[in-house]
């Protein structure tokens, strides 16, 4: 999982690389969940720079301006895990080298519009598809994303019957004959 604090042990394990960041606190619900501002992700298979590139690349593919890097880092975490497979790792390494090469050596150093121009150019290629297909699951399937976008997730397990299933008030109430009784509420 995403560690919320940077530990010395984190620098010594895995590939030796750790992706780190600080919560920007732009998303209030996520900020409330977080025990602290710093976050870190240990990488097992990818280099730190590869992790950086993949995080930026994911931000270009699924740009949510106020969504924390810490959520995008969960995509990098899954891509890092997928890189335990040698063929996947070499595909991603080659894809990143290709992105850097077409950017004149260092895609990360470019400004955002220029970075995006190169992202558009690699759309559909193996690296892009791997990141997109991983991110469309990982980015939206975690508690921080649920809070950010306003989805209840497993909070719904107990049921919304007494917790707002019909709390919308900006439209007229449907007539009783189109609806039905609320269990536990008389009348």
């Amino acid at each position: 999982m995403l560690d919320q604090s940077v530990s010395r042990r984190g620098f010594l394990k895995g590939s030796g690389a750790t992706l780190m960041g600080t919560l920007a606190m732009t998303s209030l619900p996520v900020a409330i969940m977080a025990p602290g501002r710093a976050w870190a992700l240990e990488l097992e298979n990818l280099t730190g720079r590869q992790g950086e590139v993949l995080l930026r690349l994911t931000r270009h593919i699924f740009p949510h301006d106020t969504l924390e890097d810490a959520v995008y880092a969960l995509v990098v975490k899954d891509l890092d895990a997928a890189s335990a497979d040698a063929a996947t790792q070499s595909m991603m390494t080659a894809g990143i080298e290709h992105l850097d090469a077409r950017a004149g050596g260092d895609w990360l150093s470019l400004d955002e519009p220029t970075q995006f121009m190169h992202v558009r150019a690699i759309a559909g290629e193996d690296l892009f598809e791997k990141v997109r297909s991983t991110a469309v699951v990982s980015l939206y399937n975690n508690e921080m994303a649920f809070r950010h976008f306003g989805y209840g997730g497993e909070l719904g397990d107990a049921g919304y019957l007494q917790r707002g299933f019909n709390d919308l008030t900006w439209l007229p109430e449907p007539p009783a004959e189109a609806s039905g009784p609320v269990m536990g509420v008389s009348g």
Partner: protein
């Protein structure tokens, strides 16, 4: 109180007095209950594991991994599902209870004219239309029994479910447009406690299995009841390979792989196949023999053909104010005004408009598969403000839309996997475009600021691949699901459907299973089988 799944009895593998039922979903699970209530011994072979209500997961992807049928399949044809989900043509379940674990609960009767569409619609080029060998009036008493069994809301004096936020949006837009038949649906979900099961707590995880049991499922209604009679044995993780027959052309037993991958053989007096409309024809085709070289019950050549999946699509719409569509039942309301046959709209048949909600994970996966960039993320940013509806209508049976055996790929047991070929008929396309437009108008009438047309999901309604026909040359089984070619072989799921109608199929599958059980019992008494 949690249901008991204890087998009170077990049958010897060479006991040829039992009826073997393959599949434990809407068709197979209901048939098992109905036969055992009459004292008939059955063995239920279910490919999936037993996941009880208490095992259900309030997590879309986690539940998908637990319940969905994920065995490899291939697809072909021009349907978009083949591009977006090439190895997932259908979204059904591999678990005890089958797809009644994940269904939304919509329980609508077919309309009388939908049993005779060849007569009503006339000849439609490219469509293999046929009237059912069964009328609405013949099925009507069984619809009533199924509704009572399942506790369908707004039928036979039962109240409706209370409308949730998603329904409020649909209702406001629909009534502003002048639609009249708008309500919280006919749902096999208890509004109030009934039949030993809870009322709905509005969890919003209908697709992930109903943990309270408020929604009818064979998993915790029909199957425990069948087991309690002492006339049923449930064997989960039993994947059927083929059905065997004797020299007289009668089926004699079923060969399957058990949980350990060992091949087993269960003898049978009769066999009822209810593996959903991809596995059912696959089993018949995989059972080809020298006597039946094209597969069992396939003298018509129609096994696997006329695969239908319903015309589907979804409309999502964003509003200034929040909606929170995920709170409460997934299918929370319906507009039925477009379900009529009115050719002036430019297509035959009709469609239903039903609210639908997806959680954030599935919204990302299904809103516009393959999409990326600002248009996509702008839609996702509005998640809390989205309302949604599913469009479901009658699609045209076509001979070339079919389930076939793959010529090289095999499954984990060495059996050829199925390929599912589908091309939309022009009638399906015209209906979808009309439905998208009307769905958008509903939401605009309620104040939508953005609307989204979402393409079909992998098929949840798989129908028609062993269809009923009056004449043996036109289909696979008769009006009781008995195959034309083999008297003691029955089709007991949606594969029987001659045509698809506009309505969700489960209520009709259950009604047909109740009727089939009576027929099988009579056939056994008279020793016709």
């Amino acid at each position: 109180m949690m249901e008991s799944y204890e087998n009170k009895t077990s049958f010897a593998h060479d006991d040829d007095s039992v009826v073997v039922i393959i599949g434990s979903g809407a068709g197979g699970g209901t048939l098992a209950d109905e036969l055992t209530q009459k004292g008939i011994d059955v063995v239920i072979l279910e490919a999936g594991k037993l996941h009880k209500r208490s095992d259900f997961i309030a997590d879309e992807w986690g539940s998908f991994a637990q319940l969905a049928w994920l065995d490899n399949r291939t697809t072909s044809g021009t349907w978009r599902v083949s591009r977006d989900f090439p190895n997932l043509p259908s979204w059904i379940c591999k678990t005890v209870g089958g797809s009644t674990t994940h269904w939304a609960g919509a329980s609508l009767r077919f309309q009388p004219h939908e049993f005779r569409v060849r007569t009503e619609y006339g000849e439609i080029s490219g469509a293999n239309l046929l009237d059912w060998p069964l009328t609405y009036d013949e099925l009507e008493p069984y619809y009533t029994r199924a509704e009572d069994k399942m506790g369908v809301t707004r039928t036979n004096g039962r109240p409706g479910l209370p409308g949730n936020n998603n329904f409020k949006v649909m209702h406001a837009g629909a009534t502003a447009l002048g639609y009249k038949q708008v309500h919280t649906g006919n749902m096999a979900i208890n509004a109030l406690p009934r039949d030993g099961r809870s009322g709905c707590l509005q969890r919003g995880f209908c697709f992930q299995g109903c943990a309270t049991g408020a929604k009818w499922s064979t998993l915790y209604v029909e199957i425990p009841r069948a087991l309690a009679t002492g006339h049923a044995e449930l064997r989960p993780e039993s994947h059927v390979a083929r059905i065997e027959h004797n020299n007289a052309g009668k089926v004699t037993g079923v060969v399957y792989f058990d949980a350990d991958g060992n091949e087993q053989r269960q003898a049978a007096r009769a066999v009822a196949v209810a593996g959903n409309s991809i596995e059912t024809p696959r089993m018949l085709l995989n059972s080809a023999s020298s006597m039946f070289p094209d597969g069992l019950a396939n003298s018509s050549g129609q096994v696997g053909r006329n695969y239908m999946r319903h015309m589907t699509g979804s409309v999502y719409a964003a509003f200034e104010e929040p909606v929170h569509m995920y709170k409460g039942t997934t299918m929370a309301g319906i507009i039925q005004d477009e379900s009529i046959h009115d050719p002036s709209r430019g297509f035959a048949g009709g469609y239903e408009m039903e609210t639908l909600s997806l959680g954030l994970p599935f919204m990302a996966a299904f809103l516009d598969p393959g999409a990326w960039g600002r248009d996509f993320t702008a839609a996702m940013d509005q998640y809390m403000h989205l309302a949604g509806m599913w469009l479901v209508g009658e699609d045209m049976p076509q001979e070339r839309n079919r389930v076939t055996l793959h010529d090289s790929l095999k499954d984990q047991y060495g059996l050829p996997i199925p390929n599912v070929h589908f091309d939309d008929h022009p009638n399906d396309v015209a209906m979808r475009n009309h439905a998208f437009q009307r769905g958008i108008e509903v939401y605009e009438a309620a104040g939508a600021i953005n609307t989204y047309r979402t393409p079909p999901y992998p098929s949840t309604h798989n129908l028609g691949t062993c269809r009923m026909s009056a004449n043996a040359r036109d289909g696979v089984c008769n009006a009781y699901g008995q195959t034309h070619d083999i008297d003691n072989l029955f089709i007991s799921d949606g594969s029987q459907f001659t045509t698809g109608a506009a309505e969700n199929p489960t209520l009709t599958i259950v009604s047909l299973a109740i009727r089939q059980a009576e027929f099988i019992a009579k056939q056994m008494v008279t020793r016709a089988i």
